[in-house]
């Protein structure tokens, strides 16, 4: 069958129609979590995941997957395996109430980034940094640091496991505000359709 898209017609013929070639299990890349800073001074927020073979590739792919449209000043990524997640809670239960004890003292003292989920269906938002010997202890220290704060879920992530945007890479988003052509609204399709229909009627 010929397509009206010439690119499709140029594709090499592969397989047989209707015959599905099974994929080998686990042939996909692992996932990395993507955090975006929408504005200077605002906290980083979790935006989603990318698939990638390593953290540097994840950073490169996350940049266009998550920051090609809306204002962005910085980005970082971390391997999903490195995110330590608090117990899930129901309703308005404070996730910090489920964090008991101080955690053990194994490991060296390092920085950990703490993220809070404040509203169901929304993203985790960066809340602050603590020093701890392991992710569990980081959770316990966060419980002290954010005393009295009610949150739905907590993440801790070792700062050293993050691929940050370096200061010289801050110019990656300089021309983003010029790329209005990536916003559907910029094409004013509705206005053009209305104009066309009006013209047809008269």
């Amino acid at each position: 069958m010929k397509s009206i898209d010439p690119r499709v017609n140029r594709l090499p013929k592969m397989g047989q129609p209707g015959k599905i070639i099974p994929k080998t299990p686990m042939d996909q890349f692992g996932t990395f979590e993507v955090f975006v800073q929408p504005k200077e001074g605002k906290p980083f927020q979790h935006e989603g995941i990318v698939h990638a073979p390593n953290i540097e590739m994840a950073y490169v792919l996350a940049k266009e997957a998550f920051t090609r449209r809306f204002a962005c000043t910085s980005l970082y990524v971390a391997d999903t395996h490195h995110i330590f997640v608090s117990e899930m809670t129901e309703g308005n239960e404070n996730a910090y109430d489920r964090i008991a004890g101080k955690g053990d003292n194994s490991g060296n003292e390092e920085y950990y980034e703490i993220f809070h989920l404040l509203k169901r269906g929304k993203q985790h938002i960066h809340a602050g940094t603590v020093r701890a010997r392991n992710p569990q202890q980081a959770m316990a220290h966060a419980k002290d640091q954010f005393k009295g704060k009610s949150v739905l879920n907590v993440w801790s992530l070792r700062t050293a496991d993050i691929r940050f945007t370096s200061p010289e890479e801050k110019d990656l988003w300089v021309t983003l505000p010029d790329k209005k052509f990536r916003d559907a609204s910029d094409y004013k399709g509705g206005d053009k359709l209305k104009e066309f229909l009006d013209r047809m009627q008269s």
Partner: protein, 251 residues
């Protein structure tokens, strides 16, 4: 200011960006993985945007409007190097071309940030971040696949050897090299090529890919003077197909 020299410089850069931008956009919806499809398409848009900026400067210098020069010229009137018009082939070639080309264009624009032609210097400074991303993307993939599996290394090596003669065609000298350098507009293709070879060598040294000795590579020139391969005209026909149905239509 030497107008023909500047125009020649602007046209060749703009045409390179437009043609490769169009070629790379052919991958949209067909990329090897979703995230890469989006990234490669975005960079193709950046290239076409940069060509628009250059055609706009040309218009200020008395040339026809950007849409006219982009869509209405014949192949022989284009100044792009042959490298950018070659078909995409498989993704290994597209990635190798992306790496070789974007390394070159990034250095070219970096040189132009200090051009005595103010408008071009300003544009070159403005798009620095876009070029930074393009080279970061290219280098990261080349380092990844250039050391991953025997298949990925072999594929990149084959594409590299096929691409290099065409890549060197990027630096085909213009009749105005001396004028451009003397007036501080552009330091010239020779200096650009030297810096490019050094940078390419540095990145490839971090992989298992082998760079053949530069003096063994035959250079594919002609593009800068309108002598193109058989691949350019079909690309132009396809790119302008919709516009030519009704050139007066408003979009």
């Amino acid at each position: 200011m030497h107008l023909p020299a500047i125009k020649e410089l602007l046209y060749k850069i703009a045409d390179d960006q437009l043609i490769l931008g169009h070629r790379n956009s052919e991958w949209t919806g067909m990329g090897p993985l979703l995230e890469e499809d989006i990234a490669f398409s975005s960079m193709a848009q950046d290239k076409i945007g940069q060509s628009l900026a250059l055609y706009t400067i040309l218009q200020q210098l008395g040339e026809p409007p950007p849409d006219t020069v982009a869509f209405m010229r014949q192949g022989s009137e284009f100044h792009n190097c042959i490298f950018v018009e070659l078909p995409n082939g498989e993704y290994d070639f597209s990635l190798v071309r992306h790496f070789l080309y974007d390394t070159g264009i990034a250095i070219r624009f970096e040189m132009l940030t200090s051009s005595s032609f103010q408008t071009l210097a300003e544009l070159s400074t403005k798009i620095k971040g876009e070029l930074r991303y393009h080279t970061l993307h290219a280098n990261t993939w080349i380092k990844q696949l250039g050391s991953a599996t025997p298949e990925s290394i072999n594929r990149l090596q084959t594409s590299l050897e096929y691409a290099l003669p065409f890549a060197l065609g990027m630096f085909e000298e213009s009749p105005f090299e001396k004028d451009l350098a003397e007036q501080g507009i552009f330091d010239g293709e020779k200096i650009l090529q030297e810096r490019w070879q050094k940078k390419i060598g540095e990145v490839l040294a971090q992989t298992r890919l082998q760079l053949p000795p530069w003096n063994t590579i035959e250079i594919a020139t002609g593009g800068r003077v309108g002598k193109h391969s058989e691949h350019l005209q079909p690309l132009l026909d396809e790119m302008s197909e919709v516009l030519k149905i009704d050139p007066s239509a408003e979009w």
